[in-house]
Symmetry: C2
Subunit: 83 residues, 2 copies
């Protein structure tokens, strides 16, 4: 893991991957996170700009968490552009 999450879209796809890895449906995740299936759908697709607590709830339900890290590694050029 340890995925980079700079945009709602990235966050959404990370969440989706984590959910599928657990073989959960959106409804199951929604229930665990105290949200609606429709909300999960929108979060995963990064369509709407979610609220922070919504994302935190989803992450917690997936046993994930945010970490805050420095952005510029090389402090000049990003060498680690793994792909």
């Amino acid at each position: 893991m340890k995925e980079l999450a700079r945009t709602p879209r990235q966050i959404g796809s990370i969440i989706q991957r984590a959910r599928k890895k657990r073989r959960w449906s959106q409804s199951q995740l929604a229930e665990r996170a105290g949200l609606r299936q429709a909300t999960i759908s929108q979060v995963e697709n990064g369509e709407k700009l979610a609220k922070l607590d919504t994302i935190l709830a989803v992450l917690a339900a997936l046993d994930l968490e945010f970490r805050i890290d420095e952005r510029t590694k090389g402090h000049g050029q990003d060498i680690e552009e793994l792909f």
Copy 2:
């Protein structure tokens, strides 16, 4: 760095530390992030549940970023509970 960010309050204090380390005022950070000083204040104090894009904007302005990581380290027992 690489701080844990499970709650709005934690996120807020991390942001505040990063801002002070750069010796910026809330107004300066607000300007860079395209927000208001009042908003920065609330974010740092974790008073309101910010929107995701607000936090992302602040982090970007501070050259920080979110990373998503697994919550349970030891996947059974957390050995690395450094403290």
